[in-house]
């Protein structure tokens, strides 16, 4: 097929605030002020530019706030159902393996309603890149308990704080994926608080797919000042403090031997 090898090699973006993969016509984006999605998507757009894979990407987004990215990029995109982005992207990747499949979702989509798809795509070693924004709650629906809600954290359905005895401890998603994915997997947890590091993880995750090694998964610690009911300072403090203490940032699985050009 003509598109087996990528033909788009783009110059590094002139304006660092606007990756070429970003669709200018749909900017400003629809996320709330201070939302972490915008940072994660900016990093993803820059990485797609740098890898020159714009023409090969199929981007799928979930339900929840992530759906607001359905026309965010200049690459072909499909908005799916809650939790079902991974199977849509898996189906496309299996049918046309030269596709670079990106499944973007929130913690509810990936760890609750669509958990079986994450688990099974990971254990099958499906060659897609799943990116999951963890903001510790369901944001679109008004801030309810998510698998990732921190102990004691107040949400719409835990108004007195999450009680671990009743609703369990926050799910460690990358740790789960790292434990079950076969050889060739890339698994990392980044944060919108460490932008360059996050970009590096996303780049490795996509390169892992391009090299046909295996399943790639990046959880992104993200912010939701609207539902956290926090100002800028407290938003940052929660992300870098409570969240980072519970959810350890770093790489959990790097394929061996390391892909050429991988540094850090």
């Amino acid at each position: 097929m003509a598109d087996e090898k990528s033909t788009v090699v783009r110059e590094p973006t002139k304006n660092p605030n606007m990756p070429l993969s970003w669709r200018k016509e749909t900017k400003p984006h629809r996320f709330c002020p201070g939302c972490g999605h915008a940072m994660a998507l900016k990093a993803l757009g820059e990485v797609v530019d740098e890898l020159g894979i714009l023409d090969r990407v199929l981007y799928g987004c979930d339900i929840g706030c992530s759906l607001l990215s359905w026309d965010f990029f200049n690459f072909d995109s499909v908005q799916t159902h809650h939790g079902r982005t991974i199977p849509v992207v898996v189906g496309a990747k299996r049918a046309r393996p030269e596709t670079i499949g990106i499944a973007y979702m929130g913690d509810g989509g990936g760890y609750a309603i669509g958990a079986q798809h994450l688990v099974n795509a990971a254990q099958r070693g499906d060659q897609i890149t799943a990116i999951l924004a963890n903001n510790t709650l369901y944001a679109m629906t008004g801030g309810q308990l998510a698998p990732t809600t921190l102990p004691g954290q107040k949400t719409g359905t835990t108004p007195y704080g999450r009680e671990v005895r009743k609703t369990g401890s926050p799910l460690q998603g990358p740790e789960l994926v790292a434990a079950i994915a076969p050889a060739g997997a890339y698994v990392a947890r980044g944060t919108v608080g460490e932008y360059q590091q996050l970009k590096g993880y996303l780049k490795k995750a996509l390169r892992n797919q391009m090299e046909g090694r295996g399943f790639s998964f990046v959880e992104v610690l993200s912010t939701c000042p609207t539902n956290w009911r926090t100002n800028a300072k407290d938003t940052w403090a929660f992300l870098q403090g409570e969240m980072a203490r519970y959810f350890k940032v770093g790489e959990l699985r790097v394929p061996e031997p390391a892909a050429p050009g991988e540094e850090e």
């Binding site: 003509a2 598109d3 033909t7 788009v8 070429l20 669709r23 714009l54 023409d55 090969r56 199929l58 799928g60 339900i63 759906l67 359905w70 026309d71 990029f73 200049n74 690459f75 072909d76 995109s77 499909v78 908005q79 799916t80 159902h81 079902r84 991974i86 199977p87 849509v88 992207v89 898996v90 189906g91 496309a92 990747k93 299996r94 049918a95 046309r96 596709t99 079986q116 798809h117 688990v119 099974n120």
Partner: protein, 358 residues
């Protein structure tokens, strides 16, 4: 061969590219035969973690331009309604083979016609689907091929509604290459990842099923409903045998229609004046044809026969609204119906239910 094997060969003949499946009886052998055949013909198969994943993976495959299909039944058909709803909204083509089993719940792995309503009208929308109800292995073969053509022609979810009997029975069938009969296969086109570089050579494709306001959704649905109304006369299929002297019209679909046809023959040999009507497309329903057949004779009695408790009956009643023909029923949810039972019911003329057109 068995009906399940026939379906696998039909999908191959229809140039299906990829099957995504999840085990559930009585459709399993479709996956078995397909996964045996597929590697020899450059086709693909993936066993997914559940029916939802199978259905959504189908949509992913269809989006990038491949002909995809799946087979399921019973509780699997319930789970499958979620991806089918997305296919319906976004007009992503796909073919689903439904081998009905007993219901509700897990019930039996054997047979029923209880998935008629679910298959024609499941999901949280208007049921904009094309559903063929087959009655023989020859039909399973031919309508499966036809279903792929309809799906990629009209881009509405398309179904072959079989059942456990058809799945597991062995009967003679003539397989053929569609080209040998002059049938043209409609090729699949990519909806995303088509030729060209997005944003440079062409606009990027952005597909969604979420709308912000009522009017936006309404405009979209009006377009789709109009498209569905247009395709209806092109797609709708039925069989009818009726004359001016017919006194009883047997109405049945699928494999029960075979028993009805046999019963009709037996009754006519006894000197009774019995006709026969069978919707082949149960969605869109051949309502105009049925109404014409029934409306011509106000004294005609109907006998609706099905292996469900009134799922076909409610469709028939809706189509005949305003007519006063009496309707008798032989409703046996989850079990088969023999020609002899139909003959006995007609002979007895003991109506279980009379509908005065309402």
């Amino acid at each position: 061969m068995t009906g399940n094997e026939v379906v696998a060969w039909a999908a191959l003949a229809a140039e299906a590219d990829f099957m995504y499946g999840y085990p559930i009886t009585p459709q399993n052998e479709i996956m078995h035969y397909w996964s045996r055949l597929a590697p020899h013909f450059g086709r693909g198969f993936l066993q997914t973690e559940d029916e939802m994943a199978a259905g959504f993976a189908m949509l992913g495959g269809a989006l990038v331009g491949k002909k995809t299909f799946c087979a399921t039944a019973g509780p699997g058909n319930i789970l499958m309604q979620e991806p089918i709803a997305m296919a319906e909204m976004m007009q992503i083509p796909g073919v689903w083979i439904i081998q009905q089993r007993g219901g509700p719940s897990t019930a039996t792995v054997i047979y029923s016609q209880q998935e008629l309503r679910l298959t024609t009208a499941g999901g949280n929308g208007e049921g904009l689907r094309i559903v063929y109800s087959t009655a023989s292995h020859q039909e399973l073969f031919e309508y499966t091929i036809k279903a792929f053509n309809r799906a990629w022609q009209y881009r509405f979810p398309t179904f072959v509604l079989g059942d456990g009997y058809q799945a597991k029975l062995r009967e003679a069938v003539t397989l053929f290459r569609p080209a040998a009969k002059g049938w043209t296969l409609i090729p699949a086109e990519p909806l995303v990842r088509g030729p060209g570089i997005p944003a440079l050579d062409r606009e990027p494709v952005h597909l969604r099923n979420t709308f912000n306001i009522e009017e936006e959704l309404y405009a979209r649905l009006e377009e789709q409903l109009a498209a569905y109304e247009r395709l209806t006369p092109e797609v709708v299929e039925w069989e009818v045998e009726i004359g001016p002297e017919t006194e009883v019209l047997l109405v049945a679909h699928g494999i029960v229609a075979r028993a009805a046809k046999q019963a009709q023959k037996m009754l006519n040999q006894q000197g009774q004046k019995v006709g026969y009507f069978r919707p082949i497309t149960v969605r869109p329903f051949p309502g105009t044809a049925l109404r014409q057949a029934v409306g011509a004779n106000p004294n005609l009695r109907l006998l609706v026969v099905e292996s469900a408790y009134g799922q076909l009956l409610s469709m028939v009643k809706a189509e005949l609204y305003g007519l006063t023909n009496p309707i008798d029923t032989l409703l046996k949810p989850g079990v088969g119906v023999t020609a002899e039972e139909i003959v006995a019911t007609v002979t007895k003329r003991a109506p279980k239910e009379v509908c005065h057109g309402g």
